[in-house]
Amino acid sequence: MMDNEIDRELLEKIADMLGKPVGAFNIRKDSGCDGRQSTEHIEITSKTDGKSGIDIRIKDGTVGETCHIPVIITKPGIEEMVYNDFYIGENCNVDIVAGCGIHNCGDQTSRHDGLHTFYVGKNSHVHYTEKHYGEGDGKGGKIMNPQTVVYLEEGASIQMDTTQIRGIDSTKRYTKIVCGKGAEAVITERLLTHGDQVAESDMEIVLDGEDSKGRVISRSVAQDESSQVFYPRMVGNAQCFGHVQCDSIIMGQAKIKSIPAITANCTEAQLVHEAAIGKIAGDQLLKLETLGLTEEEAEDCILKGFLA
């Protein structure tokens, strides 16, 4: 496990893993299992229905535990579709750290498609972190298409933080969260594309239960000739509160399209969306230059803060 430099680096980048993680984990490497550990409260098993992937079962009342499930691809030409299902009991509070790193030095495309489905039990809170990262100077493409589907039962909540900063040539992400009574979903999305990368993010938050809440905070930067498309959608079917906020910085010859949609099917649904696309404000750059930064340093600093 983690027997070479590339593996170690990828794992650190995507899962902040230094050495063997504490708690439950499953490391998927080049379509095989490179290490697994279940704990008393978190059980990880391979799928038995012939599909590739794992089932993660978290017992009722599991609090303060972490589960790492990173995926790394180090060989060119690997294309995979993985299904991971999370069954989270009631009254839990857990951290789940996923992420995918691709190191591609070859000319063939490496591609990871994943479908993560979460069933979050009553009054449980999940913090889900997902980082995507690609490296390697081969001509082969680095492609990731993650799908995340979350069902929140009464009083359950998820904080989902996704980050993709450089390195992934093409990504098409789909996220759907269905909130039950009093459930809350908070999604923060951070995306930076450059070169001729393309990224698409399709999101659907369904506020089904009374007093459910949804919040999407998406920040992205598109540089060079890259392009991005966002479809954040919020649907209110009951008394609920939803807020979608998309902010993008556009640079070079990039293209960004943001198409937020809010749909209310109940008079008590309160939904707001804000979307803004613009270049870095000139006075921000000038201000930082008056503090002694060069123009490039000022730009870096603004982008770093924006995506932090």
Binding site: D247, D283, E289, T290, L291, L307
Partner: protein, 246 residues
């Protein structure tokens, strides 16, 4: 020492050339506190921006400590010890007050204590503000005070403040004037303060009245203040009446 030699600035509006600054020359000695004042649109901010390098003059030279800096960019001037607190400071999504002070100080390990000191000098409580983003969630007066704190943190040889009093409550204003007095008394920096406030004008070694793109008057606060008051009151009958009624 800062020397401005025959500074002019004009812009083109259609076919017309619009003169914004007209042949301004002045010298400011080290450790002086100089106030620029005068009517709105007179050219004070433009002059300050020309010193910082944010605006390039059409004619003239800027000499800083004997070096001609007219051709230097903003970053280079900042590194030579010139700083400027914006009249309308920009806001940043994602940069915290602490980030901004750290950048300004040039010390990547700026301590929390130091940050607190700068914020206290502008009447802000560090605990409430250090981790807040300098974005639209801050009020106008808060952003303005953080801007001033960033100049204090920068601790340059020349500090230019553009209407530091704007939007600031009375208590913070008192705190701020004390801070200016202190810097002046320590002789730790040369200050140019653009201001309309009598209290700040009265601190000045020299007051320069800029109007219509030119220097209208210059002199000590005690010479200039009565003139300004007479000018303003004379120019507005309503105001004169109110004052005499009091």
């Amino acid at each position: 020492m800062l020397e401005l030699k025959h500074i002019s600035y004009s812009v083109h509006e259609g076919d017309e050339e619009l003169g914004i600054l007209k042949d301004i020359s002045l010298t400011i000695d080290d450790h002086k506190l100089v106030v620029f004042t005068g009517p709105n649109g007179g050219g004070k901010t433009t002059l300050a921006k020309i010193i910082m390098g944010l605006v390039t003059p059409t004619e003239g030279q800027i000499i800083w400590n004997g070096q001609d800096i007219t051709g230097l960019g903003i970053t280079e001037r900042a590194r030579l010890g010139i700083s400027y607190g914006f009249q309308q400071p920009p806001r940043f999504k994602g940069l915290t007050v602490r980030d901004l002070l750290t950048l300004a100080s040039g010390d990547s390990k700026l301590s929390k204590d130091k940050c607190c000191q700068y914020l206290t000098k502008v009447g802000l409580c560090a605990n409430d503000y250090l981790d807040r983003e300098v974005d639209v969630s801050l009020s106008g007066g808060e952003v303005k005070r953080i801007e001033i704190a960033s100049i204090l943190a920068r601790n340059s040889q020349l500090m230019i403040f553009d209407e530091p009093e704007a939007g600031i409550d009375l208590w913070s204003f008192a705190r701020l004037t004390e801070t200016f007095e202190q810097i002046h008394a320590n002789g730790s920096a040369t200050m140019i303060i653009i201001s309309h406030q009598e209290r700040i004008i009265s601190l000045a070694d020299e007051v320069i009245v800029v109007g219509d793109g030119a220097i209208r008057h210059r002199g000590s606060a005690s010479e200039i203040l009565p003139q300004i008051l007479a000018d303003t009151l004379g120019g507005c009958p309503v105001l004169t009446k109110e004052v005499t009624a009091q």
